[in-house]
Symmetry: D2
Subunit: 371 residues, 4 copies
Amino acid sequence: MSINSFGHLFRVTTWGESHGPALGATVDGCPPGVPVDAAMIQHWLDRRKPGQNKYTTQRREADEVRILSGVFEGQTTGTPVQLMIENTDQRSKDYGDIMDKFRPGHADITYWQKYGIRDYRGGGRSSARETASRVAAGGLAREAIRAIAPDVQITGYMTRMGAHEIDRSRFDWDQIEQNPFWSPDAQTAADWADYLDDLRKSGSSVGAIIEVVARGVPAGLGAPVYGKLDTDLAAAMMSINAVKGVEIGEGMSAAMLTGELNADEIFMGNDGKPSYSSNHAGGILGGISTGQDIVVRFAVKPTSSILKTRKTITKAGAETEIITKGRHDPCVGIRAVPVGEAMMACVLLDHMLLHRGQVGGQIGENRGRIG
Amino acid sequence: MSINSFGHLFRVTTWGESHGPALGATVDGCPPGVPVDAAMIQHWLDRRKPGQNKYTTQRREADEVRILSGVFEGQTTGTPVQLMIENTDQRSKDYGDIMDKFRPGHADITYWQKYGIRDYRGGGRSSARETASRVAAGGLAREAIRAIAPDVQITGYMTRMGAHEIDRSRFDWDQIEQNPFWSPDAQTAADWADYLDDLRKSGSSVGAIIEVVARGVPAGLGAPVYGKLDTDLAAAMMSINAVKGVEIGEGMSAAMLTGELNADEIFMGNDGKPSYSSNHAGGILGGISTGQDIVVRFAVKPTSSILKTRKTITKAGAETEIITKGRHDPCVGIRAVPVGEAMMACVLLDHMLLHRGQVGGQIGENRGRIG
Amino acid sequence: MSINSFGHLFRVTTWGESHGPALGATVDGCPPGVPVDAAMIQHWLDRRKPGQNKYTTQRREADEVRILSGVFEGQTTGTPVQLMIENTDQRSKDYGDIMDKFRPGHADITYWQKYGIRDYRGGGRSSARETASRVAAGGLAREAIRAIAPDVQITGYMTRMGAHEIDRSRFDWDQIEQNPFWSPDAQTAADWADYLDDLRKSGSSVGAIIEVVARGVPAGLGAPVYGKLDTDLAAAMMSINAVKGVEIGEGMSAAMLTGELNADEIFMGNDGKPSYSSNHAGGILGGISTGQDIVVRFAVKPTSSILKTRKTITKAGAETEIITKGRHDPCVGIRAVPVGEAMMACVLLDHMLLHRGQVGGQIGENRGRIG
Amino acid sequence: MSINSFGHLFRVTTWGESHGPALGATVDGCPPGVPVDAAMIQHWLDRRKPGQNKYTTQRREADEVRILSGVFEGQTTGTPVQLMIENTDQRSKDYGDIMDKFRPGHADITYWQKYGIRDYRGGGRSSARETASRVAAGGLAREAIRAIAPDVQITGYMTRMGAHEIDRSRFDWDQIEQNPFWSPDAQTAADWADYLDDLRKSGSSVGAIIEVVARGVPAGLGAPVYGKLDTDLAAAMMSINAVKGVEIGEGMSAAMLTGELNADEIFMGNDGKPSYSSNHAGGILGGISTGQDIVVRFAVKPTSSILKTRKTITKAGAETEIITKGRHDPCVGIRAVPVGEAMMACVLLDHMLLHRGQVGGQIGENRGRIG
């Protein structure tokens, strides 16, 4: 049992603090023979990198990944892959004024209470910077998936920022990479730009909802009843900083449906595989993938570090006020998109390996045939 | 790694099928010296038992638990506790007509695809009957919590059935045990009764939202970053049959808030401990308990087994229709209340043990002091 | 992490005390589609059963196994298999006089110190009776191995009892089942019979060495560096009651060899696979199977419950003496043979599943080809 | 499940290859508040470092450890500690001639068969260089033990090199650090020096036996039945490169004893704690520490890389011969002493944490009292 690890067979342990010398991911269980180099992992890290536009924190991290082990002559060896990112921008002086005060909505107070340690340098281990390690591990997972199940496509996007939601009738996969918010709806992206400008100027922040979809996932992945695909996805997403809710398919709204509306009817598709009238299930039944799109959604709370005065206490127990200066994200949800994708990649690869271990056969090949 | 186990130190493995000879929970890691007997576990199972009123399935199970190991002379010994429930009502003939057809919204099809096995006797392992094992394990967890942290109180209730939500202004803890729906709002309970009568007569079903609150939980529980308290709660709840979404505190709505609204301000309470202006965080910051109420919410989809004709396919791949006869719940969410409580109990006890293992000291005693 | 579980993907949790209502094994991760019924498991339990001849304890247990879950219509379903054995002979009155005294060489004193519980009914969880659960799980593992890798043969035998060792020049596989000691050497078996008769009459006991060999195991099994095949075998054997040493191949004697004597030279066999001049390695190099016989050996200490007066103390801390009456084995090593075989079966199956999960392909098919 | 991790709560994952850029240990679960810096870890690494005298390989590695995370202002924070050692001496050209040939007694052939990867640069992950990571982790474990249970002392030494064993009548704890072989017997150390000189000149190698003793360990550590203290020690030692056998206390010789000789009699010591007439048990009964010295012994096979011609095959399946040039150890067992100590430290700390998690209380405080 490791509290900084996740995954069954593809097992990722992240390490490192926001202002320490480095952080990274120790990835155990990556299959051998996967073609990979640092540039392939870097590609995914660059998507998450802060400071790329005015909508995210101006903290500038090169976020350059090095592969220290587990890859030889351009392919994985089956031994642990160490992915290290050195911290180049450790301006901890910005944080000096919060050495004794706890930031409301932050983990400052609970880390202090639990561990008796105050890492006042920007949150230490509780910082969203930890998610860079996840993105690196997710990049490796994507390469392994490409080798094992090349039809799988994983895409994340934002569906809501504060009160502003996308219009699903304008949903366009190709738009997602065209705007700084990973919005599949160009018009909403433009609205968000204005809204966020105002928020940033006012020193406030706002929450967001992210959706991650995996297309081309074969039926049969998932390990009931405590390694269900949705269980592991829920844990994966909820473990991301600032996430407060996770939904599969219909999600919380499933509570409002009747049985006949909710249960997706089954037909035979033209490809000789089962086909469904709808996807309220989010591609998962009984914790096992159906072959439909896997749909996960999660809510990211607004950044707690804001330029607004808030009431709080000190370590000495005195009541006081705090304003969190420094370089922060008005909508940290934006940067959660690549993180959600990375977690999806890790969970899917893990279940592919687990499936072939427990049930046998190639990925996509099933023991039970239909037709 | 066991796919039918959950928990780090308090580790529960459930086993058994809906229509096999028995089912149960193998509980490893219960601390020694906890006073417990079968009647104490039975108390919690009786709360979940079906057939108690007209709103739940008329399947009648005695659900009588036997303790086969790990308890000697009225207290736990520190060795594995085996909790077994024999299946007395195995009327599998009701299910004969679904031997070849897959029920829409059910795990029939994915279990078949994955394992190549069709347990047509009511769902086998994928049946909600598995949750009886959870309730038994949760009963044991409650007794251990009572011994270690007697101030902790765990209470579940229903907040929504279909379109009908409780009115929080009428919230009354004492109401919860007074109606068959675990509603904290008596008036809504009456509305639900009428609504469910109609649903049952029409052969339909509906979803629900369950909230589970733990009061009196000390600050400091939770193991970042992949054993966070909210991560483990999300996994625990999502692993329950038919659950499609999980929220902590503000949940999905956190996406709609600004930073200043969301971040709970901190004060000093009269008891010399930190006190908060609000609880958007649901009692968890950075994956660690704050000492506020732990608030988890989950959505249960409507029962898929309904008396409505639905389109589906057979194992042979032929398109057909199905009506699921038999004894089913119009709102399976009702019976999910004790299950959610049980999962909360297991997760909390587990984190109490993990905390004292990793950090040391008694439960409720923290390394970092305030004031 | 479960302290009463072992295995990575084929994961066995044993439960139960020597004088409780029942004991058993909860087996998670058995592949689906393995033909199995209770009689197949019973076959292996009967080999371990006490009271079969005058050389083992006269405690008579029916040791009848029931399969409570995970098997449907004669084959495994992929869900947990619960194997339960009820305790029918619970004559705990024999043990009444040791309620307060600790038996030297027994776990009585350490269980008391650790857990604060004294299960005076014959050792409770620390009794060798726990190994019945292992044999049941091993029986299931053997059936799964038969389905996945039918060439594998697992055989245990005794090589030493006290000062009396077998003569390897008389080694005969067929002899093993022909004598009550699982001796591959008929003449030594006859000597042991006389020796043990004397021991039994004198109320003493003696230790033994057991060797377990797996033939037909394909190259490539084992997961370096902490899931090495030899690492897992060492843990598996050392976890058996009364075991004090474990050796692989040459074992402790490897310390006496020079490099040129120890390193098995490699040739090409007639079957187109690598062939070795000798097997000092015990079939394992770098923690991975070579395709040679896997050879494990372990030492079982003499039974501590003897009819000789020994000095000890009471719970109250008073010095006293003890004679352990009751029904005991003069050479408990005899009954350890089927237990060692069972552990070998569990470890091998586990590594077959792990291998196909992590590396892919069928068992016996390797990624790296020679020739 | 991670195959490159060990430990329950103090969980160490090692990573890195002999000739890659770096190697190290990701240590999760170290308690917070342990005073530690790089120099403290370096101290233990320096003991293992090769090239210190003519008896070990002349490969020169600075083996300088860096702490990349988990330590802040001189103490552990409770978050993962990353211990990295860069490889400065990567002279892989020495190994060029073994690109296609498999070295007898090495993991070359099994890694190739399993993973389909040949890391010809000195063994890659299977190299004994991996043990540097263990020693680093063990150094951290020692500091944590010092904080939690300051009376514990862990000492390793060599008891046998080939045919030459120490004379226990000359055993002297103070001698161990006085000779290059960690021998507790000065006279045998002198004999070994001559013997090893001859071996080195002849290009041969020899095996060894190492004993590791932990003094001052409180009674009560160990988690039956699959997390027994001896089980975990057996796995820990057997996972070290080249180890072929592990013994606890009397070890394999227990097979030769009678019950009355083997079972250590119990008295009351002057300190009010149980005291034993002897220590055949090696300080462990039923998998739980007794308070006596914990005694573990393991055999290290002779180095397989020797300057003697040996028969082998190529990847293409051709029979050939090989001489392994390069810088190697005539008795690799010497360097295994600090590794054995490190594993003992990790296992003991892990069980201290596990014990306080599962049973509660301070280390050394027991639930069951005697007297």
